[in-house]
Symmetry: C2
Subunit: 102 residues, 2 copies
């Protein structure tokens, strides 16, 4: 079955990439057990350590959207926002065909 | 431990995205059991069904590079090349920090 994928990045202010990544790793731990979540990867851009990429795979866009309401996620978003260099851009939406972790 | 990630796309000629994706799903099946491979996702770009994205996570860049030599991979690359609209571009290299499938 096809899944919903999202690949996007958040840019931290200069030198704050590690701090932003630490918050996103907490989000990953929270969200990875949510309904319909198959993947929530957190990565640093090799060319720019202040750019953090998030790669998600969900059963559906609805499951992804619901995850933003989970306990604790709002608090993490509030912690992350002041670290960002500008407004987050919309990620790349994918229809994931295969290679999905069990 | 940090892992090596690669996120890139291949653009098929008009209307050949499904055919290209089918070849890449065969590659995913071959490669996902290779040494050091944690993820080999194959996805269609929601905005452009002839653009196929591949998202890989490996223990190391060396493990990724070695996978290109696996039995059967060369044959799949040969099948895919004539479907492409132009030369593949280098993907985005990532240092994957967390959320890695077991």
């Amino acid at each position: 079955m096809k899944k919903y994928g999202l690949h996007g990045n958040l840019k931290a202010q200069n030198g704050l990439g590690k701090e932003l990544a630490a918050i996103l790793l907490q989000a990953s731990a929270l969200v990875s057990t949510a309904k319909g979540c198959h993947l929530y990867l957190v990565s640093t851009d090799k060319q720019n350590p202040d750019t953090i990429w998030i790669t998600e795979v969900w059963d559906s866009k609805e499951d992804h959207d619901s995850s933003l309401q989970l306990d604790g996620v709002g608090a993490l978003i509030s912690q992350a926002m002041p670290l960002l260099a500008g407004k987050p851009e919309k990620g790349l939406e994918l229809e994931v065909l295969g290679g999905i972790p069990a």
